[in-house]
Amino acid sequence: MVVLVSVSLAVITLDYRQGQSGPLAGFGRTARAAMAPLQEAVTTVTRPIGSFFSGLAHLPSLAEENQRLKDELAAANAQSETTAFVQQQYRDLLALVGLRESLDPTSVPAVVIANGVSNFEWTVTIDKGSADGIAPNMPVVAGTALSPLLVGIVVETTEHSADVQLMLDRDWSAAAKLGTSGEAGEVQGQGDADLRMSLVTPGTEIAGNEAVFTLAYQASGRPGLYPAGLLIGQVSRTVPYDNSIEEFVDVRPAVDFATLQFVLVLQTRAGEVAP
């Protein structure tokens, strides 16, 4: 008992001093690499069962949701016609002034094979790792490469798997911009609650459901890790707070993390994203 407690304390101290570069972090990577195939196998078997029970739980709201989705699809179809026209104009303008997109990262598709094991960390494990060109600090998105929704960022890799810190995690933050008003701020994870955007100029008129996008600025002292324009979510409410320096808004993530299955890892390099 005394020996085990002593070893635990020694491990805490060693890991605290060595961080991600010590031998203990190496053991961690080995453990993750060993667990990843097992987690993938279990998830492959149990995901349909989980989806079935999840579907049963949501059965009463499915008909209503179906109608709502049909309405949204009709609206989206109408909007896509307009969007295609605007996109063509945009491309023509870029070609006209001899510009090209400063960031067009390649992406690696991956499957979510497991979640984190702790109630104090919001992470998922994906089935692609360093052997597939994935490295820490690469942004992870859902949706498509043309309309990406931000999921989080790669924090740890093994050869064939990687851990992704979700933007729900309390250690996650990114510079962001309100879509309509154009106000910039910083978005931080709040666990299972909505994200919190701070540093918004007081008095800014913020529309309900206003979209929030990433900016490539640095946030919380970390370099800009995200390309500009990734959709983070929509404003869910303005937080009443008596502060003349900054205003806070809550942001509901665009990604449904409960059903997250496929993601794209953008192969950017830290500090080289363009604003």
């Binding site: 635990s8 667990m35 979640n115 984190g116 104090f120």
Partner: protein, 169 residues
């Protein structure tokens, strides 16, 4: 002895797999169970403080290596928890079939609270107090609900892997 070690390893790995896959989807008000706490407490009840501490240490260390937090905090927590529950069990004389469920609930709550305090002291816990309390209460409740399912399974497993005593005349 080897069979015993393999049984413990299999139980720990299965608990971690279940926690990171199935139980990550089946949450109780946003909180998942802590299966290694449950396993450690049940083994401490069945086998005593020494085995509880060893299994807690092994399971906790394994879980720590899967986290992006300083290693060793879960190992320390579960070692102390396994030993404490095993010791407490020796002094509790109750025929109640609900005793394991009660011990799992109380042990989980105490263990999670200890983990949070140590993480906070190391500057690794950045949660509001309300969330910390919610996790303590709901994981204790969730683990208690799971105890009637896992306790008989673990008892059968560990009784089967117990070294046979050979009496020579």
């Amino acid at each position: 002895m080897l069979r015993r070690v393999l049984t413990v390893a299999a139980v720990i790995i299965t608990a971690l797999l279940l926690q990171s896959t199935i139980f990550a989807q089946i949450k109780l008000l946003g909180v998942r169970p802590e299966l290694l706490y449950l396993v450690t407490i049940v083994i401490a009840i069945l086998e005593g403080p020494q085995e509880g501490a060893v299994v807690g240490f092994a399971g906790g260390m394994m879980q720590d290596f899967l986290l992006n937090q300083p290693k060793g905090i879960t190992a320390l927590t579960l070692t102390l928890l396994g030993y404490a529950v095993g010791m407490a069990r020796q002094y509790i004389v109750s025929p109640s079939p609900l005793l394991p469920t009660f011990l799992v609930a109380a042990g989980t709550a105490a263990g999670i609270a200890f983990y949070e305090v140590v993480s906070f002291l190391l500057g690794q816990l950045d949660q509001p107090l309300s969330y910390s309390v919610k996790v303590i209460v709901l994981t204790a409740l969730y683990n208690a609900v799971l105890t009637p399912i896992f306790y008989p399974l673990l008892r059968r497993l560990f009784e089967g892997s117990r070294p046979q005593r050979v009496v020579r005349f």
